[in-house]
């Protein structure tokens, strides 16, 4: 009897997943998530099972792709496949921190601005936010590196200092709308504490919009992290990082395309997987 129950339950769950996928954008979302999971899981597992490490010299320089080295060897005889997957924490990991920290800080500040009754404070902080947002993110990141010095850790600091303002603006606009909703008034009438209203009622309703932006920002930040490394301003050699590897391979593009192309494909793969998710979600939102 119990067996049948679980079977029935699992079939409805399967059905539910199938129905969910059949909704608009479902295919894109599923494709995007599986692509993204593939690269992250490979990034975690491959360096562990690979016979080589990312900065080990394992053979002749410029050895073309073969069965032993599917992505070939680079200019110093390092295994490009190991390096490509070992770069996942440097790119996706740094970009993840560079999005999630500003997301948290910015959303908090935005909600405070939305709630605050102090007009002077609100207009002062808002104009600072506008000032920060006026700078193109890549340009200000490049400029700040000249004062902070190159390095992936500094890139996270720069993104924290500069990227929160975009989230704060989104959260503030949204918080003003949410605060006018009936359910907030209802919560106030129920006598809930201010803190409970802010954390249980305002924040969840504000953050849905911020999270949607964060997803597309993730793409931009991955491109910025790898772009800075490409310019030699973030990850420095011999670190395994896609942008730096592409820059490395550039000199040998004519003789050894694999040094550049494989890390580049991994980079595109990650960014495109996220953009499929974004595209699918927005299709679902529009409902077509």
């Amino acid at each position: 009897m119990k067996r049948i129950d679980t079977a029935a339950e699992s079939s409805t769950r399967l059905q539910r997943i199938r129905e969910w996928t059949a909704l608009p954008g479902g295919f894109g979302i599923i494709t995007g998530i599986s692509m993204f999971l593939t690269i992250t899981i490979l990034g975690v597992i491959y360096p562990l099972i690979s016979p080589y490490t990312s900065d080990e010299f394992v053979g002749d320089s410029f050895e073309p792709p073969s069965w032993a080295h599917p992505f070939g060897l680079d200019q110093l005889g390092r295994d490009v496949m190991t390096r490509t997957f070992a770069a996942v924490p440097a790119d996706i990991g740094v970009a993840f921190l560079g999005v999630s920290i500003p997301l948290a800080i910015g959303t908090l500040i935005g909600i405070i601005l939305g709630i605050s009754k102090n007009k002077f404070f609100v207009s002062l902080v808002s104009s600072i936010i506008d000032g920060i947002n006026a700078f193109p993110l890549l340009i200000i990141a490049i400029a700040m590196i000249s004062f902070l010095g190159p390095g992936l850790f500094n890139v996270i600091i720069i993104l924290t200092i500069m990227n929160w303002a975009r989230y704060a603006r989104i959260a503030r606009t949204r918080a003003v709308v949410v605060l006018q909703q009936n359910y907030i008034e209802a919560a106030q009438l129920m006598g809930y504490s201010k803190r409970r209203i802010i954390f249980k009622h305002v924040t969840p309703n504000v953050s849905s919009e911020s999270l949607a932006y964060a997803l597309s920002d993730f793409i931009l930040v991955i491109i910025i992290v790898s772009g800075l490394s490409f310019l030699g301003l973030a990850a420095r050699p011999p670190a395994a990082e896609w942008g730096a590897m592409i820059a490395d391979g550039r000199t040998y593009l004519g003789d050894a395309w694999w040094i550049t192309i494989f890390p580049g494909v991994a980079l595109c793969w990650s960014a495109i997987s996220l953009s499929f998710i974004v595209e699918g979600l927005s299709r679902r939102d529009r409902g077509n």
């Binding site: 920060i132 993110l137 200000i140 902070l148 490409f230």
Partner: protein, 315 residues
């Protein structure tokens, strides 16, 4: 009455642009203060003599109180004095003036070709009701947008510079017919990315415009085809595109930094990267300020254009 309202709106938007520019100035002034420790000592390295560090501090005006520094910085800006390069003693404003034309030419060409290509694509796809065409259009463009421009550049170089000798990667000649040889590949890459962005926005706003009542009115009144297309469909659909383009300007300037560095084009972006690598603080500060202010005013102009195209736009 209408013109009065228009003027008031424009003035209000201008005041906002000036306020933002003020903060842009404050931020670029504050940046040098971010560096851990003394920027002068950091730049000269650990083995530097005390006098040299002091001299550099004086040159960077770090030896006076922060408030004095800020007033002299601001006063300098109003005189058009952005400081002098630490590397070759060239005036920062002079350098911007020398490197900007190439960057502008390059951006202008990309935007021009991008519109030329995007308008027909977006119109055709906006007009077709086939879901699969629209879906594949949106998938292809989102793939192009998500691909980093430096990787597209690498593939371009591999195809056109390494395998065939069509696009030289080093050097630049600024005379007119010669420079096209150096510019066509970077401009094409930028155009490709812009086409993806612009045609997406234009396509979705054409779809929105199609369902407006005035379009139906136009059909009923039997407006001529050309007039119908340009006045009833394209003009109102352009407003969101122009707004987007002016906001995109910043990202586009960021993108040129990378492409200029790759193709060694002597534009303002490559100058910035060079200044960062050489720790040329006044140059970095000056170029950053310039980028910030130009972005603010481009979005101001973009909003005005959008308002002129479609009076329902909020500015």
């Amino acid at each position: 009455m209408t013109s009065n309202l228009f003027l008031r709106k424009v003035l209000g938007r201008l005041v906002r642009a000036v306020t933002i520019s003020f903060w842009v100035m404050v931020i670029s002034f504050l940046l040098i203060r971010l560096s851990p420790g003394d920027p002068a000592a950091t730049r000269l390295g650990a083995g530097a003599e005390q006098e040299a560090v002091e001299a550099l501090r004086k040159q960077l005006k770090l030896d006076v109180s922060p408030l004095e520094q800020f007033t002299s910085y601001t006063a300098g800006l109003f005189r058009g004095d952005l400081g002098v390069s630490l590397v070759n003693d060239v005036d920062v404003l002079e350098t911007i003036r020398n490197t900007l034309p190439l960057t502008l030419t390059y951006i202008f060409l990309s935007v021009f070709f991008a519109f030329l290509i995007s308008i027909p694509i977006a119109t055709l796809i906006g007009w077709s009701n086939s879901a699969s065409i629209v879906y594949s259009f949106r998938s292809i463009t989102s793939v192009i947008i998500a691909t980093p421009n430096f990787f597209i550049a690498m593939v371009g170089i591999l195809l056109f510079s390494v395998q065939r000798d069509w696009a030289p990667v080093f050097g630049y000649v600024s005379e007119f017919p010669e420079n096209l040889k150096y510019l066509w590949l970077p401009v094409s890459i930028n155009t490709l990315i812009l086409v993806a962005i612009i045609s997406r926005v234009l396509q979705s706003s054409i779809v929105d415009t199609k369902s407006e009542e005035f379009v139906e009115t136009g059909i009923i009144r039997g407006v001529g085809r050309t007039r119908f297309f340009f006045y009833y469909i394209l003009k109102p659909s352009m407003a969101p595109t122009v707004v987007l383009l002016s906001y995109m300007m910043g990202t586009m300037l960021g993108a040129t930094v990378i492409l200029e560095t790759i193709f060694s084009l002597p534009g303002i972006g490559r100058e910035l990267v060079g200044a960062v690598l050489a720790s040329d603080y006044p140059m970095v500060q000056g170029i950053l300020l310039f980028f910030g202010v130009i972005t603010v005013f481009l979005s101001f102009i973009g909003d005005l254009c959008a308002y002129a195209l479609d009076r329902r736009v909020k500015i």
